[in-house]
């Protein structure tokens, strides 16, 4: 019996973007299957975050197609992406600094809002229900990510590592199918990175969320990823399992020149 492989969750074809004279992303194509953890690696300036920004529609593509669960993303407005089931974190934390951790998480649940402005002003039962549901959702995430003691703290005063986790939590509150993590481990120490690896696996296996992440830490990448895409100067070098990619000659050359292997990039525990 033929079992047809399910259609990929995210399909990127020939994605290209040009900023002035610079070709930041050049004919990038890849597909992510549902339930995978897919990593994008590459030097700084390779275009990885730009790909993220194209998927979340902060930038407009010059050419190419992005399809999510069969729907074309390439012309959608930025605020429509969350409703489809895509959530993201940012390289330089973009939290709501003047709000509490809880408020940040509650805002994350915005797409599942069932109340309107009038209902909110009058605090009708529908709004009340909406609030309680959002709160329950946020509390689930707080429990998962161990944020209980920071619940009512103002984000601006929290340590860097905690803020990175809050951002992931906020993305999770929108119940995404696809989670985009932009350099989640940057700035985290060894223990925090260890925790992060566990959380990524939890999110992927227990919550069933597909993860696309940009990362520099090769240990983390090898540990959690199913497949890896290496980029250089806006173009795809190769796609494969972590081992395949790390040993690919083009990748080695792009990172370090001809000699040497990538062990210099690993963090030694």
């Amino acid at each position: 019996m033929h079992s047809q492989a399910p259609a990929p969750l995210l399909q990127v074809e020939g994605l290209t973007v040009r900023f002035g004279g610079v070709l930041a992303v050049n004919k990038v194509s890849f597909a992510i299957d549902r339930g995978e953890v897919f990593s994008l690696i590459g030097q700084n300036g390779a275009g990885k975050t730009t790909v993220f920004n194209l998927i979340s529609r902060i930038y407009d593509a010059t050419a190419g197609e992005i399809r999510f669960a069969g729907q074309r993303l390439t012309t959608m407005p930025a605020h429509a992406i969350a409703r489809l089931g895509i959530a993201r974190t940012f390289q330089n934390i973009e939290l709501f600094e003047n709000a509490t951790v809880l408020d940040n998480l509650l805002i994350g649940a915005h797409v599942h809002r069932t109340s309107g402005l009038l209902g909110d002003l009058l605090f009708l039962p529908g709004s009340r229900r909406n609030e309680l549901h959002a709160r329950e959702r946020a509390e689930d995430v707080i429990e998962l990510l161990d944020l209980a003691r920071h619940r009512h703290s103002r984000v601006a005063g929290l340590p860097y590592g905690v803020r990175k986790i809050v951002e992931i939590g906020r993305a999770l509150c929108s119940k995404p199918q696809l989670l985009l993590l932009d350099e989640p481990s940057s700035g985290l120490n060894l223990e925090e990175t260890e925790d992060l690896a566990w959380w990524i696996q939890d999110i992927n296996r227990h919550l069933g969320i597909t993860i696309l992440m940009v990362e520099h830490d090769m240990t983390l990448v090898s540990r959690v990823s199913d497949r890896v895409l290496a980029m250089n100067q806006g173009e795809v070098l190769t796609i494969g399992t972590p081992e395949e990619v790390q040993n690919h000659p083009d990748v080695i050359e792009a990172y370090l020149g001809n000699d040497d292997d990538l062990s210099g990039l690993r963090r030694h525990p």
């Binding site: 975050t49 920004n53 902060i58 940012f90 390289q91 330089n92 973009e94």
Partner: protein, 291 residues
């Protein structure tokens, strides 16, 4: 005939707007603060000139020079005492601070006996003189405004683009903490910027005084300079010139051709039009955030 005179005076008033807008833009370029008290600085320059001439009996040019220098000092002092402590606060708050400074300035000036409450005349030697150019009669007050403004514009442009201080000011405006790291004396520089800005405002006040007379509420004209800065694009010196002249001309022509009341709002209608066709002004830079 009339139209030419109207345009000439419009250009002259436009130059004053341009000078005040210069002041904004100078401060904005260096510290990204918008100084709502710029009009009041202009007013104080003019009042200073009047006081020096009336009470100390200084001749016009000496009074003007002293007024400009005193205002420069005042600008640096204001920066040191009130602006420096609040750098880094959200823009809204700092704007409110400058509005407060404007109130203070107006209030204190109103307390000065004589000039504070009356409308005074600044006895510039060229008052009342009329020039004849190509058969057209033009007031010397307007002509002097245009000439001095042009000279000042060129000098300031050169300052920002060809001197180390000017480049340092631009660096500070883009990333204060990085400028600190590079060894730029950010705080001292801000003092210089405010001093310069106040001096330019004082010159604008002294130029305007023979035309509109000197009184404590003169500074409200400064509100018109905002449209000028917007049209040019905040952060652009040539933009301030273009903006100021445009507003001056539009206002004069509106007063001449359109029914009563349009002159007062002409400047504001122009802003709204600009926001529709070109939000960042003719020379403004793109605003945005990189994530």
């Amino acid at each position: 005939m009339d139209v030419v005179q109207v345009m000439f005076s419009g250009l002259a008033v436009g130059c004053v707007y341009a000078l005040i807008a210069f002041g904004f833009v100078l401060i904005y370029k260096a510290t990204e603060i918008v100084n709502f008290a710029q009009g009041e600085l202009m007013m104080m320059g003019a009042i200073g000139g009047v006081i020096l001439m009336q009470w100390l009996h200084l001749p016009f040019l000496w009074a003007a020079l002293c007024a400009v220098l005193l205002m420069a000092g005042l600008g640096a002092l204001v920066e040191r005492l009130t602006i420096r402590p609040v750098l880094g606060r959200p823009q809204f708050t700092v704007v409110m601070l400058t509005i407060g400074l404007g109130y203070l300035a107006r209030g204190v000036v109103t307390m000065i006996p004589g000039v504070g409450t009356d409308t005074t005349v600044l006895e510039a030697p060229y008052r009342g003189t009329v020039w004849e150019i190509g058969g057209v009669m033009l007031g010397a007050e307007h002509g002097i405004i245009i000439l001095v403004s042009a000279a000042l514009a060129i000098a300031l442009y050169a300052l920002f683009h060809f001197t180390l201080i000017g480049i340092a000011m631009q660096a500070t405006s883009q990333n204060q903490i990085a400028a600190y790291y590079m060894g730029i004396p950010v705080r001292r520089l801000n003092g210089v910027v405010w001093a310069l800005s106040a001096a330019v405002a004082a010159i604008a006040g002294l130029l305007l005084a023979p035309v509109t007379f000197v009184h404590a509420n003169m500074g409200l004209i400064g509100l018109k300079a905002f449209p000028a800065a917007i049209i040019g694009g905040f952060g652009s010196l040539p933009g301030a010139v273009v903006g100021g002249l445009t507003i001056g001309l539009v206002e004069s022509l509106a007063g001449f051709y359109l029914p009563e009341g349009f002159k007062d709002v002409a400047a504001y209608v122009v802003i709204l039009v600009m926001l529709v066709i070109r939000p960042r002004g003719f020379f403004g830079r793109k605003q945005g955030k990189k994530v």
